[in-house]
Symmetry: C2
Subunit: 224 residues, 2 copies
DNA sequence: CGACAGCTTATTGTATACAAATACCATTCG
DNA sequence: CGAATGGTATTTGTATACAATAAGCTGTCG
């Protein structure tokens, strides 16, 4: 992460995610170079990556703009993620090792500890949740799949989703992980895929419920 | 395509697909720059794109190598493609316009004409086949999905697949397109998805059968 | 007024020089 | 003889200057 292009990448990405760069805004390479304290060369590198990840759009004459994501875009993103993670779970079921299974159990245990207290430890939940899903992906053993999933799994979105989780959702999340482990234990790919699909879909609706109450006129919490 | 980086991209990509650059071979930016007649800057651009598309791998110290694809890798690629194209078909079923449906019919008609002769016109088949699938993707209306599919749909592979099609496979391909159109007509996403899945899976097996016999032939050639 | 041509400015694309990192090789020491 | 070490060559990373292209503006003409 010490290379200038990586610093530029992270810097720009964070500026987009934090809203420092607003949606639809044009971004100029030289301005970003100044902001990141590097030259245009690594900035261009970073922009290409961010463009591939759809953080940035370019018009017909190659000017760059911050992409604006509608709720529909996000839902589609979650839908793709559900499909890909379900596929990963299906593959993982027949390939997962005992060691990987043990690590899944350990992380889900940590998640249980993080939420079975009066004030749930969200950062701890997030960290072990991330590692849990990383192990499933590792067990699936497909680099191409990993790359695609990275494109639709924005950790900041996951974070905002988790922040919106009530205790009920947190418990369900832990329970679903548990069921996934049991499906893996039985080497039942279809079961694992089904559980994973539901797991991601529920996450989307939790996110959407919170997001729409942000956007729209006050809307009392309803069952997610 | 007039920009130097695009020329470099196509040039390098073709060299990889034609075997001019062999699997596992290290590639140096300057050498490619000379071959393409441009400087290293656009070559680096092109390499980043090819790396994202898994044509190229880089080791821990950033040296680039031509990726070597096993038959397993290819199968996984086809599997992902089947899943994504099925998803596209499912989405398209509820969004497709009458105009798009008409264009699908027209292209599949052209395909029928290309193959219902004694010597099938493969280039014509390929062209209309490509456009057929492009329209389904257009009807699905998801840029992210389009981008992902581009990553797993290498036209040269499609070409080699089609070259291996016997008349039976060509007819089946046309028939499956026809069934897809009927499913769209009924706005039946699940049907469309199922047809598409089979369509791609069959294509993989046609390719795999031809590829394994290719490999044997190559081995014989090398021995001789 | 409106539209359009031509100029000016802004922005991206490319080439090149140099810096940094890494691999390769030879030499030495145990 | 093998392993470690140092220096050299190779390769990639970054900065910068310049070229090409597109946008914006202004003034003129219909």
């Amino acid at each position: 992460m010490s290379r200038a292009s990586d610093r530029a990448y992270n810097h720009i990405r964070n500026m987009i995610l934090s809203g420092e760069l607003s949606s639809g805004e044009q971004i100029r390479e030289e301005a970003l170079a100044d902001l990141c304290g590097v030259s245009r060369t690594p900035v261009r590198d970073a922009l290409r990556r961010l463009e591939a990840e759809l953080f940035i759009r370019r018009n017909e004459s190659q000017r760059s703009f911050v992409a604006d994501w509608s709720l529909d875009d996000l839902e589609e993103s979650f839908q793709l993620r559900a499909m890909l993670e379900a596929y990963a779970a299906r593959r993982a079921a027949s390939r997962i090792t005992w060691d990987q299974l043990a690590r899944l159990r350990s992380h889900n245990d940590a998640i249980r500890q993080a939420i079975t207290v009066s004030a749930p430890d969200i950062p701890k939940f997030l960290d072990h949740n991330r590692q849990f899903h990383a192990i499933v992906l590792e067990a699936a053993g497909s680099e191409r799949l990993s790359g695609m999933l990275a494109q639709v799994t924005e950790q900041p979105v996951v974070l905002r989703t988790a922040r919106q989780y009530d205790m009920e959702n947190l418990k369900r999340s832990h329970y679903e992980h548990d069921e996934l482990i049991i499906a893996f234990d039985h080497r039942d790919g279809e079961w694992a895929a089904a559980v994973m699909t539901g797991h991601i879909r529920r996450a989307f609706h939790a996110y959407a419920a919170a997001h729409s109450s942000d956007t729209e006129i006050n809307r009392t919490d309803e069952a997610a």
